[in-house]
Every structure is written in structure tokens, then in C-alpha cells.
């Protein structure tokens, strides 16, 4: 048994030695003062956003590629890279990949579509490819920003515009947020720290994690919360809001009323809508 394990270990070591790795770095600078919105769509690798003053954004990217052979590595160096495009005043950075296509819709929302099942890391015997883009973005605080990741952390600090942030396998942390926020994860926690309390509607959701939003003192908001398995906690005094019932007829029905499963409460005298949705986690409204 020991001999077998040693043999397997040797094989793994040989396999790792044979893998070809490549890393490079690039930096982009651009004036974003006239943009409607800045978009960044990563797939795998940490993304860190830091707000700055001025008009110029700086995006630094470290590309890490691993392939089974040097010839394959040379191929994917040409095929897989950070690309950009402009549409209707929107500047979009995204990953070019032979198995991925970014679909940017007319309403300026976007997402990757996979072209085949080996859409990111290809781990089949013939084509062992690993890809990672580690990105830091320094961008003027007032910029409206959409930033999405799929795997590895996403951290955003100090933005004051409208923020849409999403991750899938990891959580999202938003620090010193000065504007409105729409923050989404699936397998991770959502945590937002407001530098000033939001004056517009905000939304936070995940599926497998907790949601923790840290507000400044004196919060006034209408909160709507849903968790199938979790509980809700607040550092602020709250009072229950009436059940929201929608009434409509049509589709053969003369009378139809329905209510969704959210719990609605008022913080202080009420104010901008704050909606929270998770399935397996708890929801926390916290002060700082």
C-alpha cells in the first residue's frame, strides 16, 4: 500500500513538473469622467476595487495561465486575455476566452455565455488549462460601477456612485460605500459598510450565506427581508409594516390577490427601500 501511494505521489509530482506556467501583468489607464458606467467582468481570480479622486481609472491585471504543454501555453496566451469594448457610453472590461462569450444586452446588463462545457478551466486529459486573472481597479469614487466575479474574493472600497457587485462562489465585501448598492452572491456572504446611509433603494442577496449591512447611526429605511431558513437581527429600533398585498385580475381570474414571503419593517420613520434576500443564512442590519 505504501509503495502504491509513493508511486501515485511520484506521478503527481511528475505531472506538476510537466505543466507549463505563464504569468504577465498589464496596466490600463483611462479617463472615465464622461462614462455612463464602468463595467468589469472577471471570472476567476481576486478583484479589488479602490476609489480614488480625479478623472482617471487605472486597471492592473495579472494573468496566470497553466497548460499541459508549451505549445498549448503559447496558444492560450493568444486566446485568453483581458479585453475591452465601448457601447452607449459604457466602458466594458471582460475576459476573452475561446469557450466564453460576454453577452452585453441593450439594457447594459451583461453575463458570460459558455460556448462549450469546458468553459473556463479545461481539465480534460488532452487539454489541462488553468486560468486566473487577478485584478485591481482604482477608479474615481463617483463613477457608476458594475463589477462581477465568479470565483475568488471581490472587495470594493470607497465608491460613491451607483454600485452593482456580484460574485458566485465567494462573497462580496463593500467598504465605505457612499452611494446606492446592489450586491449579490450565491455561495458566499454579502457584507456592506456604508460611509453614509443610502438615499436610494438598495438590494442585497445571496443563497448560501449571511447578509450583514453596516449603516451609520440615524438610519431611516423601509426594509424587506426574506430568508427561508434564517433569522433577522437589527441594531436599530424597528416597527412592523403592513403585509404588502398585490391585487390584479386577468388570465381568466376576476379576482387575484397575492403576497410574497418577505417580512417588512420600518426603521425609524421609514425611508429608502432596503431589500434583503437569502435562503440559508441570517440577515443583520448593523450600526458601526
Amino acid at each position: 500500500m505504501r509503495a502504491l501511494l509513493l508511486w501515485i505521489s511520484c506521478l503527481c509530482t511528475i505531472g506538476n513538473c510537466m505543466a507549463q506556467q505563464f504569468e504577465d501583468q498589464a496596466s490600463f489607464q483611462m479617463d472615465v469622467s464622461q462614462l455612463e458606467r464602468f463595467h468589469l467582468y472577471n471570472r476567476r481570480g481576486a478583484v479589488t476595487v479602490k476609489a480614488t479622486n480625479g478623472k482617471t481609472a487605472t486597471l492592473k491585471v495579472k494573468r496566470s495561465l497553466t497548460a499541459k504543454s508549451s505549445s498549448r501555453l503559447e496558444e492560450i496566451k493568444k486566446e485568453i486575455y483581458l479585453d475591452s469594448m465601448r457601447k452607449d457610453g459604457h466602458l466594458v472590461f471582460f475576459i476573452q476566452h475561446p469557450n466564453l462569450k460576454l453577452k452585453f444586452d441593450d439594457d447594459h446588463t451583461a453575463g458570460y455565455e459558455s460556448i462549450n462545457q469546458n468553459w473556463w478551466n479545461s481539465n480534460s486529459g488532452k487539454d489541462q488549462v488553468k486560468v486566473r486573472f487577478t485584478i485591481t481597479l482604482e477608479i474615481p469614487a463617483q463613477t457608476d460601477l458594475t463589477v462581477r466575479n465568479h470565483e475568488h474574493p471581490l472587495i470594493i472600497d470607497g465608491m460613491k456612485g451607483d454600485l452593482k457587485a456580484a460574485n458566485h462562489h465567494d462573497g462580496v465585501v463593500v467598504k465605505n460605500q457612499g452611494g446606492s448598492a446592489d450586491v449579490h452572491s450565491h455561495h458566499g456572504d454579502v457584507e456592506v459598510f456604508y460611509a453614509k446611509n443610502p438615499s436610494r433603494a438598495c438590494h442585497y442577496d445571496t443563497h448560501h450565506g449571511d447578509i450583514r449591512v453596516h449603516y451609520q447611526k440615524g438610519l431611516a429605511a423601509d426594509a424587506s427581508m426574506y430568508s427561508y431558513h434564517g433569522s433577522f437581527y437589527s441594531a436599530f429600533d424597528w416597527s412592523p409594516s403592513p403585509m404588502k398585498v398585490s391585487k390584479q385580475s386577468g388570465k381568466g381570474a376576476k379576482y387575484r390577490v397575492s403576497s410574497k414571503s418577505e417580512t417588512n419593517v420600518k426603521i425609524s420613520s421609514g425611508g429608502p427601500a432596503q431589500s434583503f434576500r437569502t435562503h440559508h443564512g441570517d440577515i443583520y442590519l448593523l450600526d458601526q
Binding site: F236, W238, V257, S261
Partner: protein, 269 residues
């Protein structure tokens, strides 16, 4: 017996604690007009967690009172100095189309429905947890399906198919719908049904562990034991566990069955 008593006390304490924690949170009333108030109507309720009470009245609308409860999240009202907000959101839907009122309850937390219907109305009522079903003073065809709760019908007219598992079925008929079969089945409770004295039916009754009582005059026609030849030789004697009888002059089939309870068939005064 001592063990059984202790178990019963424990069950009682657990259910009392559960009731105390699942506190009533709010109620809301919905008035549902029918497409054709002069035509017969039907109510269908599907509820996963909660009870259903239906009462006939002289009005034309269906009036639904909805009672929602907080989820059982324990008794603490705080955590690390934070105030707990009870998770009371309850999704539901009420739809009326062609005189059929459909009510879909939440699967997330308990809600009770208390519903007034025009006196002549048919009912399909389905409940599961905390699921007592009660109907009072309604005439129609009733299909009633509970699981953890009992079914209680008072001063009803018409025909009933009622099924539960953990509760009793108690019904008191003012009149029955002629030539319509009925069935009442449970597992852990009594089946206690009161029919008008003039009822004509063919009844089939069975209780595995309990007894069967009636004050109707029975004319038993329970099948006699049958000898069935076996394929590999020999024979098997089949003994019916059903008591079968006509009451009155006989008529449609009424079936009553339980496992741990009694079957009680009463004749109204």
C-alpha cells in the same frame, strides 16, 4: 402504562411549548366576489402548515380571514445585543375564476384560514401540519384531506370524502346528498359520524385495533370466509375484515375505516 403516561406528558409539554413559540402575529381579511353570485361556487384551499375553518353564511361573497404566525425561532428576542425581527413573511395567493375560489397558502410558515362561504358551496380543503379542518353549516360536496390534524364537520348537508392520518373524523349531517358514495378514513383517530335517521346506505366499516359502535339497525351482509386454492397446492382462507351492512333500505356505499381508533356510526335524534 407508566412509560406511556410519561410519553403523553412529554408530548403535551412539547406541543404546548411549540404553541407558545409560534405566536399569532397578524390577521387580514379579504372579501372575494364570485363571478356569478347566483350560481354554485367551489372553494379549493391548499395549505401546508395551518388550519382551515369554513363556515356557511347567508352572504354572496367569500370572506377570508388570514392569520399569520411567526416562525419558531426560539424564545430569545436578541442576539449579541441585536434585536430580533421575527421572520413572519407569509406568501399566499387567492384567485377567483368562474366561481372557483382557489387559496394557496405559504410553505414557509404557519397560517390559518377562517373562511365564510355562501351557504351552498362545494369544498376541497387540503391541510398538512397543524392542519385541523373544520366545516360548519355548509351544503355541498366536500373533499377533505388532512394529515396531522382532525376533521370536524357540524351541521353539514351533502356528501363527504374525508381522509386524515393522525386525527379523528367527526361529522354531523343535517341531510345527505342522495345516491352519492362517501368515505371517511384515518389511522390514529376515531371515525364518529352522525347521519339523519332516514339515511339509506350500504356501509363498510373496519377498525384494526378498535371497536365499531352504531345505533342504526344493521342488516349484516359481510362476506363469508372464502377458500381460495393456491397455485402450489393447498388453499388459503380469506376472511374479510370489513363489516358490511345495509342501513335503512340500503343505497350508495359509505366506507369508514381507522386503524387505532373506533368507528362510531350514530343516528341523529
Amino acid at each position: 402504562m407508566l412509560y406511556r403516561n410519561r410519553l403523553l406528558v412529554l408530548l403535551f409539554l412539547l406541543s404546548a411549548a411549540s404553541l407558545a413559540l409560534a405566536q399569532k402575529q397578524s390577521s387580514e381579511v379579504f372579501e372575494i366576489p364570485l363571478s356569478d353570485p347566483n350560481a354554485p361556487g367551489k372553494l379549493r384551499v391548499d395549505l401546508h402548515d395551518g388550519s382551515i375553518t369554513v363556515e356557511g353564511y347567508s352572504g354572496k361573497d367569500v370572506i377570508l380571514s388570514l392569520v399569520t404566525y411567526g416562525r419558531n425561532e426560539g424564545s430569545s428576542t436578541s442576539k449579541n445585543g441585536l434585536k430580533r425581527i421575527p421572520n413572519v413573511g407569509s406568501g399566499f395567493e387567492i384567485v377567483e375564476a368562474d366561481n372557483v375560489v382557489m387559496v394557496q397558502g405559504s410553505r414557509k410558515s404557519r397560517m390559518d384560514f377562517i373562511i365564510k362561504v355562501p351557504w351552498e358551496f362545494s369544498l376541497y380543503l387540503g391541510a398538512h401540519h397543524n392542519g385541523d379542518i373544520k366545516v360548519n353549516n355548509v351544503k355541498g360536496e366536500f373533499e377533505l384531506d388532512s394529515h396531522h390534524g382532525g376533521i370536524k364537520l357540524t351541521d353539514i348537508e351533502g356528501a363527504v370524502v374525508a381522509d386524515t392520518h393522525h386525527g379523528a373524523i367527526v361529522a354531523n349531517f343535517k341531510s345527505i346528498q342522495s345516491n352519492t358514495p362517501m368515505a371517511f378514513s384515518t389511522y390514529h383517530g376515531d371515525v364518529d359520524i352522525t347521519f339523519p335517521a332516514s339515511t339509506n346506505a350500504t356501509v363498510k366499516m373496519r377498525s384494526e385495533k378498535g371497536d365499531i359502535y352504531t345505533d342504526f339497525d344493521l342488516q349484516l351482509n359481510t362476506p363469508k370466509p372464502k377458500t381460495v386454492p393456491m397455485a402450489k397446492g393447498g388453499s388459503r382462507i380469506e376472511v374479510s375484515q370489513w363489516i358490511q351492512s345495509d342501513i335503512g333500505s340500503g343505497g350508495p356505499s359509505f366506507m369508514f375505516t381507522t386503524h387505532h381508533g373506533d368507528v362510531i356510526l350514530r343516528k341523529a335524534d
